[in-house]
């Protein structure tokens, strides 16, 4: 039987190559899944990966890819810092919702006043909403040693309930004919987050994403904090010996990832979504986890991975519409991507050897 053998040094080829291989494996396994559902696998894969870019309506779909990729990249950048340090914020979805609620609420509070100050205040409030929500698992971990994975994840469901509550309650549009959901912020110029260039899908969230990618890059390669983050993830004891305060690092990483998730929520609610509604969140906070890992937790990788996942989001929607694929199959498809990526990662540290004569006696 072939055996896995630890490599003396991690393979650079596999570290770089696994994302590409994982995408190919996902196409194959996903195609099989779609075939089992009775669809033409080749057409389904083409619809997801090709049509959004090059079909007849590509001009529209391409802008939609940017709309989806923006928040994914923004959230994934924040998550990647924590993931590198071994701090597992799985609840970005909740922080995204709370950022949208707090930021949106600030905008709604000013309605209908005009002024340049409204939008910046909303941005601050959006980031703050995410930070505050992320501080709950962070402080619980520091104070009581709770597991931040569980706490941050469970807080997503709390945030969803709060979102439902405010959509039906205090933030409901008074002129909304009783429908749930807030006023439409995109129709309130002081609070709106429109496309910066009409029809591109590139709004202030995109600007923030680009900025954060560059900042994260600089942070990881040049800044003391970035070094401490990398060190803590790779060798926690060495980090402690080197003088890193682990509690402070938890606060910083959870804070940054919460802030960026909150910002993504704010840009979404003021832009593409337009309003707070019970079904405002569509899972960017979870998909961003895939983006972070697919991008190898590297800022540039995250940009590529964010664009790819944005593509599958748009392509998946087209496939749902045109081929009648169930929405859950698209989520399963994205999940496969993470599955294959993590599975193939074994080959970064291990290599396969034909077992041959090596038999161990009992």
């Amino acid at each position: 039987m072939p055996i896995l053998e630890k490599r003396p040094v991690p393979s650079r080829f596999w570290a770089r190559g696994t994302p590409v291989l994982a995408v190919l494996m996902t196409m194959i396994a996903g195609g099989a899944l779609f075939a089992l559902l009775g669809k033409d696998p080749v057409e389904a894969i083409r619809t997801i990966f090709w049509d959004p870019l090059f079909s007849e309506f590509g001009f529209y779909y391409r802008s939609q890819i940017l709309v989806k990729a923006g928040p994914l990249i923004l959230i994934a950048i924040g998550l990647s810092l924590g993931f590198r340090a071994g701090i597992w914020n799985i609840g970005a979805e909740g922080q995204y919702i709370m950022g949208a609620i707090l930021g949106g609420a600030v905008g709604l509070a000013f309605y209908p006043a005009e002024g340049w100050h409204v939008f910046p205040l909303m941005i601050v409030a959006g980031a703050l909403g995410g930070v505050l929500w992320a501080m709950i698992p962070a402080l619980l971990r520091i104070r009581f040693g709770t597991n931040e994975i569980l706490v941050s994840l469970m807080l997503v469901y709390v945030a969803e309930n709060i979102l439902r509550s405010v959509s039906f309650g205090i933030l409901k549009n008074p002129q909304g004919f009783g429908f749930p959901g807030s006023r439409n912020l995109s129709e309130y110029p002081a609070a709106a987050n429109p496309d910066l260039i009409e029809g591109t899908g590139f709004h202030w969230g995109g600007v923030a994403a680009v900025l954060m990618v560059l900042l994260a890059w600089g942070l990881l390669s040049r800044h003391m904090l970035g070094y401490q983050i990398r060190l803590s993830g790779q060798a926690p004891r060495a980090a402690h010996f080197g003088g890193v305060n682990p509690d402070r690092l938890v606060l910083v990483c959870m804070g940054i990832s919460g802030a960026l998730a909150g910002l993504a929520g704010l840009f979404e609610v003021a832009g593409p979504a337009g309003q707070l509604s019970p079904d405002f969140n569509v899972g960017y906070g979870f998909t961003a986890i895939i983006v972070a890992f697919l991008g190898r937790l590297h800022p540039l990788g995250i940009v590529l991975a964010g664009l790819l996942l944005g593509l599958t989001e748009v392509g998946g929607a087209i496939a749902q519409q045109n081929l009648g694929l169930p929405a859950a199959s698209i989520k399963a498809f994205q999940g496969m991507l993470l599955f294959f990526l993590l599975a193939m990662d074994v080959f970064t540290d291990y290599r396969l050897r034909p077992g041959g004569s090596r038999k161990e006696a009992a």
Binding site: E5, P8, V9, P10, R222, H223, M224, L225, Y227, R230, L231, Q234, A235, R237, A238, A239, H240, F241, G242, G243, N245, R353, S357, A361, A362
Partner: protein, 525 residues
Amino acid sequence: MKGMVTMQGQVTEAPLLAVEELSKAYPGVVANDGVFFSIARGEVHALLGENGAGKSTLVKMIYGLVHPDGGRMLLDGVPYAPQSPSDARRAGVAMVFQHFSLFEALNVAENIALGMEDPPPRGALSQRIREVSAAYGLPLDPERIVGELSAGERQRVEIVRCLLQDPKLLIMDEPTSVLTPQEVEILFTTLRKLRHEGTAILYISHKLDEIIELCDSATILRHGKVVATCNPREHSARELAEMMVGEILIPPRRARRTFGEVVLEVGGLSLPAATQFGTALHDIRLVLRAGEVLGIGGVAGNGQDELLAALSGERTTAPGTIRLGGREIGALGPAARRALGLLAAPEERLGHAAAPDMSLTENAFLTGAVRERLVRHGLIDWSRSRDFACRIIEGFDVRTPGPEVPARALSGGNLQKFVIGREVMQHPEVLVVNQPTWGVDAAAAGAIRQAILDLAGAGAAVIVISQDLDELMEISDSFAALNEGHLSTPRPAEGLSVEEIGLMLGGVHGGTTAGGTGEGAHADP
């Protein structure tokens, strides 16, 4: 019994075990390359070599744990190719490992029964254990729980387990590394008795004085090959070391020096155990003057890691428990202590002293950030960090292609030179090192000891925590022993006898009887 008489020089009759042209390769390394040696009945044969010379692979092949790629073995003149340790045991080959495989929650008799091919009933086994342990001077109570035993007593359990099977050949891998000098004496008495009865003993150790004292012949391995076969009694320890290393060794030298002012004072330092398996520190007191080297001996697991953590700042205590140059630093973290001049090098190189997957440059930055001024406004100056790494590499003869190589690609000795060099190059006021030469080859160990002495000669105070008593005697000005978290009062190293050191180390583990923790000595039914 034939072969009773120990033989020096020529062996005319068939040896008990003959190893011929044995080879074994692992991916990327040839562990054994045409190894040959033979051992007669009643012979104590030493296997000598540096770490990685292939000793472990060789004995694992003899014990059936690893299967050779080529060559053959003859036991009593008959081809011998054990497929597993139980094959080996049936053929009369027994082995005592360096790391014990005992269940702490079970008692001695249960542990011994677990390791036997066909254990007799409990009552008879306990009786046999008493007989054998008494006959060989290894007092052992079969009813005691192994978790309560000292390292020396645990080793007796392993030895008695082997002896119960009447082995023809007993393999011992680094048996004295965890023993106090008194326990070593008891072990040697036992081994001599076994030799007298005709048991052959294959003895692996890097303690050359022991080998000269105990062994009749020696096979020396270097890089997987036999480089010499000799009678160790005809050579000095230095000559043997040079055969192992293949180069001339220069002993560390220290210049006469006087001690300066008191730089480090530790008083009333107590620390609860960090984990279930940790050791608590109790009221540690010591005073260190500039230029002084304090050696702290003790068997592993007696609080060495905890003491280092308390001194490095990884674990903090009340401010007044540690004073550096009169300043209270007990509550400061590692970075703040480093800034004040207290530097440390922990025992575990990979994962604690250095991050395995980070480059040497990044690892140089790990502790050098503050004192070497490698950070400005939060931004890291990588070119200065690289320069610092290069200076360490050059100054301490670290064999590496360059500073961008990850730490885990370096051999143990080279990485240790890097880790020690990194602290020494920062000109500490006080340096604390734990096991500076553990698992390091002789040449590198010599260089590290010399660097420590040079540092002290330049006026720094140094604490060396080590299990290697020879090392401590070689470089220490004063000596203290750590036992179950208690530190004995430091005494001048000069003039300390081996017996005195053993008593300091032993603490309550007297080592002569089964009175390990004071309980159980009266457990006789």
